[in-house]
Each structure stands twice: as structure tokens, then as C-alpha cells.
Amino acid sequence: MATAVRATMTRGSSASLEEAKHRVVDFFREVCRYLPSIMDRYNLYEVITPAQLRSQISAQFRKHSDVTNRKVIDLLVFKGQEELQYCLDHAKQRHHLLSTYVVGREGMVQHNKLGVLDHGESEFLKNFYQSNSL
């Protein structure tokens, strides 16, 4: 019962920044080890390759590359483990993964790119293309 063990696993805070960074790398490797099984059970092969998914996940890590506070790093790792646990427990459904890792948050907002691109339109027309309520 590897998952049951993992779910109960807690650790004290890192003693140093090095240890915190080490934990991050460890966690990334752990995620990578679980990737094939996640791809499998969420049927993701038809929308993304394992390499692409891995780089999407590493992008999530890099998003926080500027964090230097070890307590914050520990917390982010903990949250990442929690997220992984949800994936493994099937507490998530396919569209959760699709929206977070496959298309990305931005891709889910309709016409967002269209509104952002500047064709020399007036503010009115930009808003018009986006929504009726703007």
C-alpha cells in the first residue's frame, strides 16, 4: 500500500535551503515516476505525450523558481504532494488534468487570445468580442 503510506507521510521542515532544494528535486523525480501510470489511468495519451506532460509539470515547478524561503519551498512541495496524491487517488477527473496541465488555464478562457491580440480595434470592439457584459 504505497499510496496509503505516502498519504500519511509528513516530514519536519527543512534544516537548510539545500535540503529544501533537495526535497524539490526528489519530489519532481517522484512525479516523473508516477507519470506513466497517470497517463494511463486518465487516458491522456490521446491528448499529450509523456515528454510534453513532463515539461508542463516542470513549468509548474519553474513558476516558483524565485522562491528562496525554505519554509515556503516546503509548503509548495507539500501542496505538490497533495496534488499528486489527488491524481493517484482519482480524486480528480480527467478534465481537471486537461484544464491544468494539457491546455493550461489560459486555454480554457474562451477567445481570450482573440481579445488580447491587437488588430488596431477600439476598446469597444475588443470588449464586444469577449463578452456581452463588458
Partner: protein, 824 residues
């Protein structure tokens, strides 16, 4: 004439802070009239306003120039009516001084004002809404009597009932059968009060107040009497409130909480009554009926269809149609509102929502040109029901069945995303950007004179002005509004509006209806005419297709022959018309589309001149427009421009349809590029090359002008569906893509444009008085020859007139249910 001082006494004697309404400090010295130009305004209050009883209707009055608005509290409507019927000096109520000077005569027929200008006549009408049914006891106008209510003595006009006297005193009397717009039945006994020196409690609604009467409304006897009546009413009333659609807005429920006993002594079985089938609109659960007979009186007095009646007596009394018969009235839905219990409820609304879950939005109806005030009750994104809102000058408290029940069409056949027709003929959903650039491409390929813009029936004024500006900027003046004919005269406002006003029609005594089926075109106007027939014994003659108007009328034939005879003075009706005090001529939609329309209108104008239908103080010439968009379209000049070449339709290469669904596909050339902007996938959407989804009237804030020239606004009750946009925004966006950008970015900027084109559209909720009748200023275009062909029926099926109705299941059920009946 009762002077203001006496009137003041009446108001003062009530003593209740809630009713201490003297409107402005100027009125306090009641012999002093308010300043010149003070306008009495009526703000419509929602029907279910009082805490516990729907039957108590109020209208709040306030003076626009009131220096202390917070002191303006309410006057019960019944009091206003009663006062006005007895021609009390209205100046003490804050009316303008011109009203004060207006000589007023009263009697059983209500008020007829003369002199003082049309404006003041209208204000008087506001006050003088005569109930149709009850015969008001003819009173010497000077006479008031003194009665006492619960120890407070007060002066009331002679002829008031005890119930009205109590209302003046600020005491609300519970009632079921009494309704201020219906005749008095006096059969529910809920309004029992004690009168000194009478052996038993009296039914206050049916008892005239007599001098020196000492009325008591809060004695133990009264309390016990009400409790007893309530116990009897509940004997046979089923305990199905949890599944009753009236639950939460039921008079019986509310009044039993306030006046009923906390326990009953009833152990027997309850009687049950077979439900009646009144058609697809009104659901009946007759076991719940308490026999107040409001529905019976409504049907026979206001709707004018004596379909309902009372059968049996005592324990076997039932409301019914005697033989199985549908209720064949366009106003039948109103019996749902006046039923104090859950016996008559809405069939389409049944079991769909409870009243307390609904969000109410005050809005305007667009199914006909009257602009009835409505309340849209919605839950989430869905319109659950539509019910009337009180507006004495427009719809009183009634609405037509089409207004009330066609809302389910708002959920079907909706256009929710832009679409482009591909070469294969199928419509492909696209983005707004793609759709607009497709239209722009088409616009750039045609010459301005090959373009045309058509406005449909439900368009709001904002989108009409935007479309007009857009097309004019492109150089196209080939614009028209569907349903009012190509050669309508939009120059003089009084020549296309209902000048007498909807409420003013009540005062008329002779009617000439030309080419109109009022009952189908505007059922509520028909109810007003019926009121005039009942109260003033008005004579009605029709020239046009034969129709049952629900009142006696003379059918002068369906062609123009009778019209010409009247104009030449050879017809017996012409003397009747010229002798009339307040004649009314109504020209309807059957005339608009005729090829000889100008000649017909010239004949009508001759009649108007000869019979002096238009005078200094009375404008009896009326045009009854058919659809909600018409008056605004004409005011904004959405008619073919002077430079518009009257090309045959074959030359059109680009057609912009703003919700125009009545244009026949055969009239559109095969190679024309058709843009359809609208909210329903109705007829024209099948022909469209590009579809731009707009918002329906329940989803946008749109300005509409009614046929009498009243500007009103809808308010959004639910969000627009899918990727649809507000209509004026679509045209504004398109104009930018095409390259002729319109200069407004917000709805307030569009309305600022109204100020330049037609300022009356900017003044919402106001009736712009019609312009002066032009005396031989405009040349009569009598050059064209008048034909003797019969006037056409503008509406064939009352229930299927616009795209919303045509998508409505309820309206389809009505159509099939009433198809075999000859009247509808």
C-alpha cells in the same frame, strides 16, 4: 364643487400617519393651489403591494415639484377614484392649476373633462378611473356626509360604500369577492363590520355609507364574525397548500393567518368538485374555489365573454361553463390574478416554481404596440412567468394572454452563436470576428443603393437608431420597418399615433374603427372601448373584416364604400359621428399595407375634418400601430429616405434584417446577401447568409415607444443566451469592422443620440403629447385612386404574431385549441 378645505378635512380626519398625504406643503393651505406647472405624477406600484392582501391596490402619487418629497405618502387608489368621481377640487391633491379650472361634471358615467387642453384631460383621467361594474350612486357633487369609523368622524362623499369609508379612514377591511374594478357581489361575507344600531354585522362592500353611521371595525363582534366566515370558507377548502401553485401569494392563506381561528371544529369529509377544462392557459382546481365569483364578473364585465357562470346553489354551488367550453378571450389569463385562492392558476406555470424563489423584474411587454407594464419573474437564467404591473394609463392591471404566456418561446429556437452559411447550404457556427468580417466583405462588394435595412417587430429604439445611422453612413437610405407599409407618413407625429391615448378612449362616445380588428391587434384597447360602451353607452361602428368585438357594434361592411359614404355625408353614421361629444376614429393595421393607403387616409382625414374629430380640447384621430417597434421606428424616421430609389426588390444585393421575419423568402433575390440579426431562428434565419444572435426583450435594457407615444424601457431579467450580444452593440461593432464607425460606445451615448433625433425617446415613462393637428398644412395626396377592395386582416391568428410566439409551445396549444372557434 367641494372646495379644497373640505377635502383637506377628509384627509386630515384619517389621522393615520401612513395616510397623511397632502403631497406638498403648498397643499396644506388647501384653498391655495400649487404653483403653476406642478404636475401630478403617478408612480405605478406593484400589484401585490400591501402586506397581506393582493386585492388592495395602491397607486403612489407624488408631485414633481414637491419640496418635501418624504412627506408624500400614499393615497389609496379607491379614495382617488371616489374623490375624482365626485369631482372634488383636485387642486388640494396637488394637481396642476389648469386641472383645477377644468369644469367637471360627474355622474354614473365617470368624468368628462372639457376645456383646459388635452393634457389636463389626461390628468383627470388618471384620477377618474371609473369601475366598470358598480353603478355609482348619482350624488349631488356638493354633498358629503359625516360618518365615524372606530370613533374618528370623517367627511366622505355621498355614495361611498362602508368599505370605501373605512379605507378613507385607513382601516383595511379583509375581502375576497370585492374587487375595485368589478361589480359588487357581496357574497364572501369576509368584509363584515359592525354598524351601530344594526341587529347584526353588515357586509361593508355592499352597504352604502349613510349619514351619521357609526362603523366599528375592531370590536370583538367583528373579530368573531371574521373568524366565523373564515371557518366556513375553510370547511370545504382542501388542505393542499403545500402543492398549490397559489401557495405564498394566496389571499385565503394570508387572511386566515391574520383573521382566522387557530383551530377548526370541522370533522366531516370535505366536498369535492370536478375540475373544469378552460383551455390550455388556465388550470382549474375547483375544489379550492370559495365562490367569490370574481372570475365570473371579470369574464362578463371586462373580457366581455359570458363564458363563466355559477351553477347550483348552497353546498352544490360551482363555477363553470355549463357545457364543456373553453374560455375564448384574449384576456382570460387575468382570471388567474384576480382569483383570491388557487382555484384558477396558470397551466404553463403549474408546479414549476414557488413564488418566493422568483426574482422579479419590472419591464415592458413587446407583443403588441400598447407597451403593457409587466413583471418578469425569473429563476436563474429562466423566465418562469410574466404577470401584469399596475399602470392605470396603459394596461390598468390586466395583460393579454399573449403577453402572459408566450414566455416559453424564449427558451426555444434561440440563436446563440454567430453563424455563416457555407456553400453546401449548412450554417457553420463561427466567432464574432469571422461573422462580422464576412458581413463587412459583403458590404464592400455592393453599391449603397443596392442595400436595404429592414426593422422587425420587436426591435428596440437603440438598435433602430444604430442601424439607421450605420446604413446612412454607408449612403443607403433604403430602410423600412416591417408591418407599417412602405409609404407611411412619418412627418407629423399626430398622424401615426394613438392621439386620444389608451386611457382617453374611455371617455369617447362614438367610435369609428377603420380596417382594424382591435380585439386581436390590441386586446387591452378593446377592453377600454368596451368600458366606454358599458359606461358611456358609446356607439361603435366598424369598417373592415367582421369580428366579434365583445360588445355591440355596427358592421358597415369590409370595403371602402361605407368610408366614402361617410365622408360624403350620405351615410346615417356620419350624422352620429358629427353630433358626438367625443368622437374617436381609429385607423388600424388593415390600412397600412394597402396600395391605395394615401387615398384611404385622405378620405379618413375628410371625415375627421367634417365631424370635428380633432378639436382644441379633444383629439379623436388615432392610428393603432401593430407592433412594439413601430412608433419608435417612425419617430426615428426609419422610413425610406428621399434619395432611396424605389428599386424593385430584384435589385437588392445586400439585405440587413433586424429581427424582420415577415419578409417572404420569395421577395429576396436569390443572389442577395442576407444578414439576419435576431434572437430566434425564425423564418428569415433560414434564408440568412450570416446570422448575428441578439438579445430578447427579457435580456436587455431597450427603449420602446407605445402606440400612444409613451416611452418605456425594458429591463434585463435574465442573461442573454450563449454568445448573443445586445442588438445595438452588434451594429456598433459591425460599423467599426466595415469602416464607418458609429460615434457611440455605451448605451447612454446611444440615448444621447435620441436627444438629437427624437427627444421624446429620451424621456422614459413619459407620454409625449402629440403634436398639433396640422390644419391643411400638408397637402392631401388624394391623387391616387381609392379602391373598393376589402380591408385585410392584419392578424390572422392572435397567438402567432412574432418570433417569440411562434417558438412558444403554449401559443401553439392555444392555436390548436381555438382553431375551431370562429371568434379567434
Amino acid at each position: 364643487m367641494v372646495r379644497g378645505s373640505k377635502c383637506y378635512k377628509v384627509l386630515q380626519a384619517r389621522g393615520n400617519a401612513n395616510f397623511r398625504c397632502l403631497i406638498s406643503p403648498g397643499c396644506k393651505a388647501a384653498t391655495e393651489a400649487p404653483a403653476e406647472g406642478t404636475i401630478l405624477r403617478r408612480n405605478a406600484a406593484p400589484i401585490s403591494d400591501s402586506g397581506y392582501c393582493r386585492s388592495f391596490n395602491y397607486a403612489a402619487f407624488s408631485s414633481t415639484k414637491c419640496s418635501q418629497p418624504e412627506s408624500c405618502t400614499r393615497i389609496p387608489l379607491n379614495l382617488m377614484r371616489a374623490l375624482a368621481n365626485r369631482s372634488i377640487d383636485v387642486s388640494s391633491l396637488g394637481a396642476s392649476s389648469s386641472v383645477q379650472r377644468t369644469p367637471v361634471c360627474s355622474g354614473s358615467t365617470g368624468l368628462i373633462g372639457s376645456g383646459g387642453g388635452l393634457q389636463s384631460v389626461r390628468h383627470l383621467q388618471t384620477l377618474a378611473v371609473t369601475p366598470t361594474g358598480p353603478k355609482i350612486i348619482k350624488a349631488d357633487t356638493e354633498e358629503t356626509i359625516e360618518v365615524s369609523v372606530d370613533g374618528h368622524s370623517l367627511q366622505i362623499p355621498k355614495g361611498m360604500t362602508v368599505l370605501q369609508a373605512c379605507e378613507v379612514a385607513g382601516k383595511e377591511i379583509p375581502r375576497f369577492c370585492y374587487h375595485s374594478r368589478l361589480s359588487i357581489a357581496g357574497n364572501c361575507r369576509m368584509c363584515l363590520v359592525e354598524v351601530e344600531k344594526t341587529p347584526k354585522p353588515v357586509a361593508s362592500c355592499a352597504m352604502p355609507a349613510l349619514p351619521g353611521m357609526k362603523i366599528k371595525t375592531d370590536t370583538p363582534l367583528v373579530k368573531k364574525a371574521r373568524e366565523g366566515v373564515m371557518e366556513f370558507l375553510l370547511l370545504n377548502h382542501p388542505l393542499d397548500c403545500p402543492i398549490c401553485d397559489q401557495g405564498g401569494e394566496c389571499d385565503l392563506q394570508d387572511q386566515s393567518m391574520v383573521f382566522g381561528s387557530d383551530r377548526g371544529r370541522f370533522t366531516d369529509t370535505k366536498r369535492s368538485v370536478v375540475d373544469k377544462n378552460l383551455g390550455p392557459l388556465v388550470k382549474t382546481v375547483m375544489t379550492r374555489c370559495i365562490h367569490c365569483t370574481r372570475c365570473v364578473r371579470f369574464a362578463s364585465e371586462i373580457a366581455g365573454v359570458p363564458d363563466l357562470g355559477v351553477l347550483g346553489r348552497g353546498g352544490s354551488e360551482e363555477i363553470g361553463t355549463y357545457v364543456e367550453n373553453l374560455m375564448t378571450s384574449e384576456l382570460s389569463g387575468n382570471v388567474i390574478d384576480i382569483c383570491p385562492v388557487g382555484a384558477l392558476t396558470s397551466k404553463p406555470f403549474a408546479f414549476t416554481a414557488r413564488s418566493w424563489e422568483l426574482k422579479s423584474t419590472e419591464s415592458i411587454d413587446v407583443s403588441d404596440a400598447l407597451g403593457s407594464n409587466i413583471r418578469i419573474d425569473s429563476r436563474g437564467p429562466e423566465v418562469m412567468r410574466i404577470i401584469p404591473r399596475l399602470n392605470e394609463e396603459v394596461n390598468e392591471e390586466w395583460i393579454s394572454d399573449k403577453t402572459r404566456f408566450s414566455y416559453d418561446g424564449l427558451k426555444r429556437q434561440r440563436l446563440n452563436e454567430p453563424m455563416i452559411r457555407r456553400p453546401g447550404g449548412y450554417l457553420e457556427p463561427v466567432t464574432w470576428r469571422a461573422a462580422l468580417s464576412a458581413v463587412a466583405q459583403a458590404v464592400h462588394q455592393v453599391k449603397p443603393e443596392e442595400m436595404a435595412g429592414v426593422v422587425g417587430k420587436l426591435a428596440d429604439a437603440e438598435s433602430i437608431i444604430a442601424l439607421k445611422d450605420f446604413l446612412n453612413k454607408l449612403g443607403c437610405e433604403n430602410t423600412w420597418c416591417e408591418g407599417i407599409g412602405a409609404n407611411i407618413d412619418a412627418d407629423v407625429r399626430s398622424k401615426y399615433l394613438l392621439n386620444t391615448t389608451i386611457a382617453g378612449v374611455e371617455n369617447a362616445d362614438v367610435f369609428l374603427l377603420i380596417g382594424t380588428q382591435v380585439r386581436k391587434e390590441a386586446p387591452l384597447l378593446n377592453a377600454r372601448i368596451r368600458k366606454a360602451v358599458r359606461n358611456n353607452r358609446a356607439k361603435v361602428a366598424t369598417i373592415g373584416p367582421p369580428i366579434d368585438l365583445t360588445y355591440d357594434h355596427e358592421d358597415l361592411g369590409d370595403g371602402t364604400d361605407a368610408l366614402i359614404q361617410i365622408a360624403e355625408g350620405k351615410h346615417p353614421f356620419s350624422t352620429l359621428l358629427s353630433k358626438a361629444q367625443h368622437p374617436v376614429v381609429i385607423v388600424g393595421a388593415g390600412v397600412f399595407e394597402r396600395s391605395d393607403k394615401d387615398a384611404v387616409m385622405a378620405v379618413v382625414e375628410t371625415i375627421v375634418d367634417q365631424a370635428k374629430v380633432v378639436r382644441d380640447d379633444w383629439n379623436g384621430f388615432n392610428v393603432l400601430l401593430l407592433e412594439a417597434a413601430h412608433a419608435a421606428a417612425l419617430d426615428l424616421g426609419f422610413v425610406p429616405g428621399v434619395t432611396a430609389k424605389l428599386l424593385s426588390k430584384d435589385h437588392l444585393k445586400f439585405l440587413y434584417l433586424l429581427g424582420a421575419d415577415d419578409i417572404k423568402p420569395d421577395d429576396i433575390p436569390k443572389d442577395a446577401f442576407v444578414v439576419y440579426q435576431g434572437h430566434h431562428g425564425d423564418r428569415s434565419a433560414y434564408r440568412a447568409n450570416v446570422i448575428l444572435p441578439g438579445a430578447a426583450f427579457t435580456e436587455k435594457e431597450g427603449t420602446y415607444e407605445s402606440t400612444e407615444g409613451r416611452t418605456q424601457q425594458t429591463s434585463p431579467a435574465v442573461p442573454s443566451v450563449g454568445d448573443a450580444r445586445d442588438d445595438w452593440k452588434i451594429i456598433r461593432a459591425l460599423s467599426e469592422v466595415v469602416g464607418v464607425q458609429l460615434p457611440y460606445d455605451s448605451v447612454s451615448a446611444v440615448r444621447a443620440r435620441f436627444l438629437a433625433v427624437s427627444p421624446n425617446l429620451f424621456r422614459v415613462d413619459e407620454l409625449e403629447p402629440p403634436t398639433v393637428w396640422p390644419q391643411s398644412i400638408t397637402p392631401r395626396s388624394s391623387s391616387s385612386k381609392i379602391e373598393s377592395s376589402p380591408f385585410i386582416k392584419a392578424i390572422d391568428n392572435f397567438y402567432m404574431t412574432n418570433s417569440i410566439c411562434r417558438a412558444s409551445r403554449t401559443m401553439a396549444q392555444c392555436t390548436s385549441a381555438f382553431a375551431n372557434l370562429k371568434q379567434i
